[in-house]
Symmetry: D2
Subunit: 404 residues, 4 copies
């Protein structure tokens, strides 16, 4: 009954295209900081509403703005001079009347600040919240007639709040995997062992034919670097690490460069006090960086919607971008013979979100496989995932799905 279409993709698999460009802004990039704050605030508000009201009320916090500070990094440890300024912007329901007539006042401002600060402390351990960065909040009252219901027993599937679309794809190409994994590892296990690596890591992958160039810009943390030699060693370690990681994902030729804009002779290097360029001159805001799957992939269709910070109950721009990615991954995992799969979900305002106007899967199959061979199986998976669309909402609130 759902309008699910499976057809052939009218292009080569991205893996087979001649030129491919992929980018990821790491969690310490100013735009990603804003994405992360916006999503942390969103989770905090959802949880507040669930705890107090039993279901999620109307809110939207997808507009955090970061104004860069000034810093004086220095070998062995410098300092922030003027703090970074972050303004959390959005709407949230502040007053609610319960069924039994009690008037609840919901501390949305305080919860937004708490959520943002807790996120910052975790994501950017070298940044001292409150002195290196000021977090402020302007939350207007949401439009009262748009209160969404999620979390109640027997709740209905919400209606789409807009005519919008989401797009996802799978599997990742080699270049995409390298870019994504390199940032995650550098900000994960590698970073845990190497505190000299800041969180502001930007990775650009460019593949021309069978040559992959990976350019890493990694903010170094001055407290762990005593001189230019240690700096050079730190960048060389990153280069070796990313090269090794890349070679696990591809047999193509890989070149890795780290902090290419450095001029070591001149002492012009990428040294920071806090691990992010937000400390000195780089502003940021939500929705300007990674798409919902964590990457910027101009070879593929992308949605302009900011996924982070939006209400996960009925905000279709968020749900359909996350769900289409989820569907694409599920189909590719369960169905053999797919080289490239692109899933688009188009909503219609006012229609239940489990019944998109179109759910459109386009595939590049392996040579031996026809679209018809996989159509039924793919359709079933798509149908099942759409039926359980509210799982996405729950997993977003629980922080199980990343949005950037």
């Amino acid at each position: 009954m759902r309008n699910i279409q499976v057809s052939e993709l009218d292009r080569r698999a991205v893996e087979d295209q001649e030129v491919e460009i992929v980018e990821r802004k790491g969690i310490g990039h100013p735009d990603s900081i804003c994405d992360g704050i916006a999503e942390a605030v969103s989770r905090g508000l959802s949880q507040l509403y669930l705890d107090r009201v039993g279901h999620v009320l109307h809110y939207n916090t997808d507009e955090t703005q970061l104004v860069a500070g000034n810093a004086a990094p220095s070998y062995g440890g410098g300092e922030v001079v003027d703090p970074i300024y972050v303004l959390i912007v959005g709407r949230a329901t502040k007053e609610y009347e319960t069924d039994d007539g009690r008037e609840l006042t919901l501390p949305v401002g305080r919860v937004a600040l708490e959520s943002a600060r807790a996120y910052l402390r975790e994501a950017l351990p070298e940044l001292e919240v409150g002195t290196d960065i000021v977090v402020d909040v302007k939350l207007g009252e949401g439009s009262g007639d748009l209160q969404d219901v999620f979390g109640e027993d027997g709740a209905q599937v919400p209606m789409a709040n807009d005519t919008s679309f989401g797009v996802g794809h799978a599997p990742l190409t080699e270049t995409e995997r390298i870019v994504l994994e390199a940032e995650r590892e550098l900000n994960g296990a590698y970073g845990a062992d190497h505190p000299e690596i800041g969180q502001d890591i930007k990775i650009m992958g460019k593949r021309e034919g069978d040559t992959i160039d990976i350019t890493v810009a990694a903010a170094m943390v001055d407290a762990y670097i005593d001189d230019i030699d240690e700096y050079r060693e730190a960048t060389e370690r990153v280069e070796a690490f990313v090269t090794g990681l890349a070679e696990e994902h591809t047999d193509r030729e890989v070149h890795v460069e780290v902090n290419t804009a450095d001029d070591l002779e001149e002492g012009s290097i990428y040294l920071t006090t806090t691990g992010t360029s937000a400390e000195q001159g780089d502003d940021g805001s939500v929705g300007r960086g990674n798409r919902a799957n964590g990457l910027i992939t101009p070879n593929r269709p992308m949605s302009m919607e900011a996924t982070s910070g939006k209400n996960p109950v009925n905000h279709i721009g968020k749900i359909y971008n996350l769900l289409s990615t989820d569907i694409a991954e599920a189909v590719v995992e369960e169905v053999d013979g797919i080289r490239d799969l692109q899933v688009r979900l188009l909503s219609q305002i006012g229609r239940p979100i489990d019944q998109p106007h179109v759910a459109d899967a386009q595939v590049v199959t392996e040579e031996s496989v026809a679209v018809a061979d996989i159509e039924e199986e793919a359709t079933a998976i798509i149908d099942e995932r759409l039926a359980n669309v509210t799982d996405v909402t729950r997993r977003v609130i629980d922080g199980e799905i990343t949005t950037f």
Copy 2:
């Protein structure tokens, strides 16, 4: 000598694809307001530097944030209750030492405010600047070593400030033209005759096969609408107008709907005091809406770069997005036989911007035409445009090129 490649596009022309989605956020949309302010501030600063210093200094103002207000629209004329708040964010050079040793202090804060306010007055005539909207500014000092040179006699071509890419395409599909033109006309000649139409017009085009659905969300201005009947007539006029306009661009079947979320029975309509939803609950920021060609086109590769507000001298994210569009349009205009053309320009940090790492034109030709037939002609045009890359800078500063 420039690395220009012309090849076949490995997909159908977008015009031939089964499903096409196109969107445009009109100039009064909160995101577009931010784009417009950011670009107006950019032009103001460029002009300030040219007037005082003779060339453009380092700046970047691509981060305006808008926090929505509260309003009480009402038939015959309502009012803004709490003002909209706009924060202009960025970096700009405030001090400059001339060749003859004079220390200039450049009024970047005041010029940013002047530019933004003048833009708002022109773009949103129903909005009273200063009381309906507060405009504030936080401009940090730019990194001093990145002072760009533009405008001097005998100036060199600037070096790329980043490894980035731009993408443009031509010609527009029918759906793209309808969406783009409809907004421009509604905010142009039609709007001049019909002041009841606000500037916050969002147009979504969806084509499935040969059926085009155009959904228009148009904020109405309460001062010019006295009751629900006048409101209904106003939306019907827009519907008729857009239908007529669409039919000039296509022979396909066209359906136009205006303000579909209205519920006239309930009196739930899209009425505003100022012509923009920013007055009530809709926040906005730069780079979240239209791409450099004025459209959001998920069927085509898009750059995530915010074009508006960036320094047009050496900010490659801005220049290459505008230039690639410009090149695509020029090639299609001058060379016969092209159904769809996509131009990508990839920079390399530190390299002159007239010599991109790759300039990559991919075409879908008409059936009777081979790529080889047009390669030489297209290459020549691309080469010539690249050679004159600084024209883009000049035209941006003069306001001849729109960025959103």
Copy 3:
């Protein structure tokens, strides 16, 4: 029935004291700008409530903060570089339910901005509102249970909102009159003829015995001054004018100095672009400058209450400071034989404001007059003024009484 006491003041008349210090910060001084804005906002809100609701609702706007800008004044006309920032702070009632059940939304934010901007345009004509100065507003919701009633037919006298006191005195001493009149004239008729005089005029009067030193600090406006000679002439004109004015008020020896901190040799002078030192480094806030009678008079008891910006209906800190001054002036005008009169009004929270806990008039009489001679007459005037206390409220709302 009112507790009115008339007694002898246990000190000499201030006119007879050996050392007397008097100061006035002119309307363009940063603290006075804040006072003026706060009071303009207060009048605007009172009028809004009277127009929409029929009586004045709860508000308090006595906390405007001004953050100085940066400017580059220059002979013949300089410019503001970074704008002044003004934050209007306070509480105001935003929602009101009328007797017939209509819910009114009151545009307090917009009215505050309108009032402040109109005031600035009038008070500081050289300052371009919106570009030289940014005006922002943060008005919280007032505590709902404190809605004050003023303006209704048959309204009761309001109850005091606090235990507080006000103090006034009359007549002014010679030094006080000179200081007050000099500023008013310089910012009045003299200023109208001499646009080179800015509004930021600070006058300090010091009398030792029979010698009065008047020190004037007057910001000059660069657009009307072409060189150091014109500057010197301008200050000399002010000196001559103030000397003449002073000699109309006293037979004592008067010395006037203007802009004593200048060093003309070094070109270190008091030149501004906008007529106020707020353009460059001097912050300001409400209640830090002139008391309710326009002067700072350490020889006399003073209230610390900020009079400007407070609700004139029941805010006793405002009403009693204005009323006590008014009473003192009335008594001195109507009763002969008074050399110095000090009136104190002490409220008690919850008691009608026309019945102060104590109304206490202390006098220094002329030698030939005993306190007993004037007690009855003075008491009658005080009683009558207290009975008509709400006149003060009306005159404040109408802008007939200055508060700083």
Copy 4:
């Protein structure tokens, strides 16, 4: 050689006046919070300059503004709903060139935040800094030519930065002592044992003849109060404590009332979550509350200067208010026979601060003592204290002198 004058005060001792009014705003009052922050920031900056540069550079931070939040206090523990907002305003030197030509960048913004936050944590333990209160900072660049020198070997006595005056007096009257001590004890030992008492304690003392009324407004902290009975007991404990304390200072009749505006029947009580009314509706700013000696004393001459936050090196408005109080206390302690002493110090701009234009001590002596009897002794003490004026600067920086 200093111009020191000792003369008879031309009024009765305040202790002998018929009506006396005294007020103290406790450390948790919104105005006092601002005073405390401003002074903490001032100490932080002084220490920063001493540590890095060796002497104190130009700054002035006497303009903190507090915008109240919203809270929902509740028996057993409520919460802040919308955070308090604090804006630290001022000027500070950010760049300094050392004698050996190094360019120092001074982290004044970060130090201001650190100082303010540390102060808040100590002064208001129930307030969670960062979520219950947002602290922001706008520090402009100080005027470069006004760099003050303090702390260097062989430093000269600074010159007065303004023509201003300070005033101090001693000894305190009984009423003054009761008001001062009551707040200090409630916020001291008593508060340590009674965490239900918040820091926002406002005490008003009124003496008429031999009857002293003490009105205490004490914010109670909801986490430590479970119901209306506990609340009543808490206020009764305060009443008993203050009554006892008062009786140690006077033999006059004393009446103490606590939270007189309460209506226990209606449940309208002074309950807070954080211990300060800033959480709900009460804004604050610097210099609006206590004078330099900790009291508001309309029976005595007062300076309007905000003492807190000013540079203690050469800001005469600060130094002379603190020094005159210090002198008055020293004279009264060392010289017998003084009932009331008032010391005024009047500066002259550009003159060394140890040589005031006038140092003027006025006394009411005991009946058996003539002014001539004490003149020499008093003059010597005043002279000695003026000679050591820079001690005040050092003690202020070390936090040994309170300013409000």
